[in-house]
């Protein structure tokens, strides 16, 4: 069963509803022992990086996520949950992240190199470009997904960026390494492609289960 980490910062309802639509069993929990037993974890997140990390650290859920990642079972961070997987963020002052993926979370500059200003947050539908073969993209075609964020994951590690969108800078949109995945956009709010990406994640879980 998929565990959704309930740490008070997520849009848990919409993620839960999306899994229900996919007919995938899940549970919501803040209990470490329970979460550790899950076949996969989803780390949602709406809010600020610093608040989220402070809750994850004080509840011990930060260690739980790292421990879970070490087991090799699939982990998916969504939106802020994806950003938390990286090394650090500059939102509200430099804050250390979960350090599962290489890179730092930075604010959109708000102006291009040519000095032309643009709007932040990056809010709305943007096209996903697939950069790498990944089981998470299996059988899918490039389409639009829904983003809402003011910060993006800046990484030099090309292998981590599975898919991207362009908004002045390159926005890593689907990231991953091994069993750790992240989506900067909201798959549960991204119509058919979003639902298909979530479906692929749940299939990774099922495949892993059947191998075991």
């Amino acid at each position: 069963m998929i565990g959704i980490i309930d740490y008070g910062m997520g849009n848990l309802f919409s993620v839960s509803k999306a899994l229900e639509r996919l007919e995938v069993p899940y549970f919501l929990s803040e209990n470490k022992a329970e979460l550790l037993k899950a076949d996969a974890l989803i780390l949602p997140g709406v809010g600020s990086f610093m608040d989220a990390m402070s809750i994850l650290n004080s509840t011990g859920l930060a260690d739980l996520v790292k421990e879970f990642a070490d087991t090799g079972k699939p982990l998916l961070g969504i939106c802020l949950g994806m950003q938390l997987l990286f090394e650090s963020s500059e939102e509200n002052g430099l804050t250390e992240g979960l350090q599962l993926l290489p890179g730092h979370v930075r604010r959109f500059p708000g102006a291009t190199a040519e000095g032309e200003t643009y709007k932040v947050p990056h809010m709305g539908w943007n096209r996903l470009e697939f950069l790498q073969d990944s089981p998470i993209l299996k059988g899918l075609d490039e389409d639009y997904v829904y983003f809402v964020h003011s910060y993006f994951a800046d990484t030099d590690d090309r292998e981590v960026v599975i898919s991207r969108s362009m908004y002045d800078v390159e926005v890593p949109a689907v990231v991953g390494r091994g069993n750790v995945f992240g989506m900067q956009f909201h798959p549960e709010k991204s119509s058919s492609l979003g639902m298909a990406l979530l479906r692929n994640f749940t299939e990774l879980v099922e495949e892993r289960m059947s191998v075991k």
């Binding site: 849009n11 848990l12 309802f13 919409s14 509803k17 999306a18 229900e20 639509r21 709406v46 809010g47 600020s48 608040d51 802020l80 708000g110 200003t117 643009y118 709007k119 932040v120 947050p121 990056h122 809010m123 709305g124 539908w125 943007n126 096209r127 639009y144 829904y146 983003f147 809402v148 964020h149 003011s150 362009m166 908004y167 909201h186 549960e188 709010k189 991204s190 119509s191 058919s192 979003g194 639902m195």
Partner: protein, 252 residues
């Protein structure tokens, strides 16, 4: 590149979708859950769900209706009306909404914008502005309480302040255009869109597909909202999108 968003608005009173012509006459245009499902299937980019009687009657938005709508949607939606405190925002966002919209409450207590933005992130906080041109002011005046109460605030200055205080988006309704179906207020939309660095949703006055093209091309809006023309099937989201795409507007 971001696409321009087409946003059907569900004005809700007592659990039913209604649309006021200039905020006064109300007609019953259906069930919010039915409409949500309908618009999701039609390719709407987002929905706005406003409890229009909330400020007037001090009524809280019905969380159960929000939950029911959220269960049907695989697209984002905003909820406004009756949100007066951080607790209200938590309740609505936990019920499945992606953003909350503050109108009267933000004018009465601008600190609420910052409070919400600090807790949830700016992207969750929409400030809705009801604007009416004022000869004396030589600009647009901000109205509250569903357009019934004039304030001392000038629209451009208020939009800037809202953005500085942490709003992630402005939902800008022209009271002069609302319900007239003669097009969005392009001057107003452009003035606000150019004054702030956050997205602006144009609202009020949509009568046909060309009005949307104007709002995006001339008004520089990031999204455009309409209710009655969609609810009464005078046009569809799909028709509007295909028309504005031909005009060179990037859509999903």
């Amino acid at each position: 590149m971001l696409t321009k968003r087409i946003v059907p608005c569900l004005d809700v009173k007592d659990g039913r979708v209604v649309k006021g012509v200039q905020f006064v006459q109300l007609r019953d245009a259906g069930d919010p859950v039915e409409l949500a499902r309908f618009y999701d299937g039609q390719g709407a980019d987002e929905l706005v769900f406003l409890d229009i009687s909330a400020s007037h009657e001090g009524r809280k938005t019905m969380v159960e209706v929000v939950k029911a709508v959220a269960s049907e949607l695989a697209i984002p939606f905003t909820v406004g009306g009756g949100i007066n405190a951080l607790e209200d925002m938590k309740r609505i966002l936990r019920a499945g909404a992606d953003k909350v919209s503050l109108n009267t409450a933000a004018v009465n207590n601008p600190g609420l914008i910052t409070e919400g933005a600090n807790f949830f992130g700016s992207q969750c906080i929409v400030v809705a502005i009801d604007a009416k041109y004022d000869e004396e002011l030589g600009s647009w005046r901000v109205y509250t309480h569903g357009g019934r109460t004039p304030t001392d605030l000038e629209v451009i200055a208020w939009a800037r302040e809202a953005a500085e205080r942490g709003a992630g988006e402005i939902l800008l309704t022209s009271m002069d255009s609302d319900g007239e179906k003669k097009g969005f207020d392009i001057k107003l939309t452009k003035a606000v869109s150019e004054a702030v660095s956050i997205p602006v949703i144009a609202s009020g006055g949509a009568g046909n597909a060309d009005h949307f093209a104007e709002a995006f091309i001339d008004g520089k809006a990031d999204a455009a909202l309409a209710a009655s023309i969609f609810h009464y099937k005078e046009t569809s989201v799909a028709e509007v999108k295909s028309y504005i795409k031909e005009k060179g507007v990037l859509v999903r």
